[in-house]
C-alpha cells in the first residue's frame, strides 16, 4: 500500500524537503509513500481528517519566529489528528529575483514565517520594499514571471527547481534557523520519546494553570515546551500546548495523564512519537 502524504506545497517548499526526508525514512521501514501538495496548512491537515490522505506534514515551530499558530489552532479544532513523528530541518532563505540590484526591487513575496525570519535583513537592505504574504515560499516564486520589480524569499532548492536566479543567499537573521515539523495521521505511535497534548481549563478557577502543571512537577516529568494560545472566547482564556519527555518513566506519565483529565476542561492527546533530525 502506498501512503498518500499531504504537505504544504507547491513543490520546492521547506515542508516538501521535510516530507522527502520522511519518505526516505519510510523506505528504510520498507514502506512506500507519495507526496501530494496542498495550498495551505489548514487544507493540508484537513486532507487527513477528511480521509483524502494518510499523513500530513506541516511546520509547527521555528527557532527564530516561534510557533506556527495556524498549525496549533487547526489541530485543536480538527478531531482525530495524531502525531506520528517530529522532523527537525535546518532552514536557509535566499532572496530570489530577476533583478541584479536592490534599488529595482519594490515588493518582496513570501510566506509570513519566512518574511519574519528575515525581517532584520529586509529592514537593512530593502527598507522601502512592500512585504506581501503568500501561502507558501514557492507560491511566491510564481509572481516572479509576472512582474518585473519584485523578489521572493524561498529555499535555494526552490530557486534551482524553478530555474530562478538567487540574488542573495542565507538572508535569515539567525544562522541557526531550524523548523520543527509534525507528521500527523489518524493513529498515534506508542513507546516513543515525546508526547504532545493540549488542554483548556475550567473558567474562573484560581490557580487553574498551576494545578495541571504541578501534576508533572510532582512526578519529575520534564516539559520540553509549553505554549499558550487564546481560546478565542474571551481575552485571558487560554489553551495550553505541552510537550512531555518520555523515557523510562512511561508508568508515571500514564498516571499523570489520568490525573490531568480531572483538572482540565477539554484534554486532547496528540500522540506519542519520535523525533527525526534531518541534516
Amino acid at each position: 500500500m502506498t501512503l498518500k502524504i499531504a504537505y504544504l506545497g507547491p513543490t520546492g517548499t521547506n515542508t516538501e524537503t521535510a516530507g522527502l526526508a520522511y519518505l526516505n525514512w519510510l523506505e528504510q521501514q520498507k514502506k512506500v509513500g507519495v507526496l501530494c501538495p496542498y495550498p495551505s496548512i489548514t487544507q493540508t491537515l484537513k486532507a487527513v481528517s477528511e480521509n483524502q490522505a494518510d499523513l500530513a506534514v506541516v511546520p509547527v515551530e521555528n527557532s527564530t519566529q516561534g510557533s506556527v499558530t495556524i498549525t496549533l489552532d487547526t489541530i485543536w479544532e480538527l478531531d482525530h489528528l495524531k502525531i506520528t513523528h517530529a522532523l527537525i530541518l535546518p532552514i536557509h532563505h535566499a532572496l530570489i529575483s530577476p533583478q541584479s540590484s536592490f534599488d529595482q526591487i519594490n515588493t518582496v513575496f513570501s510566506h509570513p514565517q519566512a518574511l519574519a525570519q528575515c525581517q532584520h535583513w529586509l529592514e537593512d537592505h530593502l527598507p522601502k520594499a512592500q512585504l506581501v504574504a503568500s501561502n507558501s515560499t514557492t507560491e511566491a516564486l510564481q509572481r516572479l514571471d509576472k512582474e518585473a520589480n519584485i523578489a521572493a524569499i524561498a529555499s535555494p532548492r526552490a530557486a534551482q527547481l524553478y530555474n530562478l536566479p538567487i540574488l542573495v543567499d542565507n538572508i535569515n537573521d539567525y544562522p541557526e534557523n531550524k523548523t520543527r515539523f509534525w507528521v500527523l495521521g489518524q493513529e498515534s505511535g506508542t513507546g516513543a520519546s515525546q508526547i504532545s497534548l493540549a488542554f483548556s481549563l475550567p473558567a474562573n478557577v484560581p490557580g487553574a494553570l498551576m494545578n495541571p502543571l504541578s501534576i508533572f512537577y510532582r512526578r519529575g516529568i520534564n516539559l520540553s515546551r509549553i505554549e499558550s494560545r487564546p481560546t478565542k472566547r474571551s481575552l485571558g482564556e487560554y489553551l495550553f500546548f505541552i510537550d512531555l519527555e518520555v523515557h523510562d518513566n512511561q508508568e508515571s506519565v500514564q498516571s499523570a495523564l489520568v490525573e490531568l483529565e480531572t483538572h482540565t476542561e477539554v484534554l486532547k492527546i496528540f500522540g506519542n512519537y519520535n523525533v527525526l533530525n534531518i541534516e
Copy 2:
C-alpha cells in the same frame, strides 16, 4: 509638563484609540499628554528607550490571535522599558473600499494581526483576494486612493477620519474580539494588581521550566498568563513571559521574585501595573 506618548500610528489605528483613552485617564490625574505616531511597533518602543518619548502604547495580545510577538521580542531586547498600565479595548474591524461589490476586489491590505483576526471571513467572502501586510491598519487606508480594485481592513473610526466608505462592518471572526495594550515608560509603578516578567533558563538543566513555576505554585500565587518565545539561539530554547496576579500577597510575591532570580539565566521584571478597561 506635557507627557509625550508614542503610539503605533498613523492616526486612526486601534492603538491610537487606546492612547486616547489613556489621555483621558491622565487628565483625571491632572496630567497632560500628547500622542505622537510612529510607523512600527519597534520604532514606537525605541522612542521611549532612546528618550524621544516619555511613554509608548503598543498592542501585546489579542483574544483571537494571541500574542503580538514583535512586542514581546522587542521589550526583551531593549533595556529599561517598564509597564505602567495595561489597557483592554474591544476591537471591531470593517472592510473599507471604494468598490461596491466583492467581485471587484483583488487585494486586501491591513496589519497582519487584523488580517488574521478576519481570516475566516476573508476565506468565505474574498477567497481569491491577495492579502498584503501593512505596518498598521490605517497605513493600509493610504492605498485606497492609489489603486482601484482594493480594500483595507481598519476600524470604523478610521474610515470616518479618512472619509472612506465602509463596505462591510464587523468582519472579525469572533465577536468578542479584544486587544490588550501596554503603556510603557522608563519607570514602573508599585502596589498594583499585575506584575509582568520574562526569563531565560540555564541551558541543559532538566526540569528547568518547572523549577521557576514551582516557586509560584508553592506560594499559591496565580499566573494569569504564560507565553513562551524562542531565544532565537537554538530550537527548543525558550524565553518565558509570565503575568502574576498581585493582591494581598505582596510579601510572598516579593520573596518569589528573589527566589526566581536563582533559577533563571536572565530575569527581567517589566513592572507592577493596573489594568484599565476601555468601553
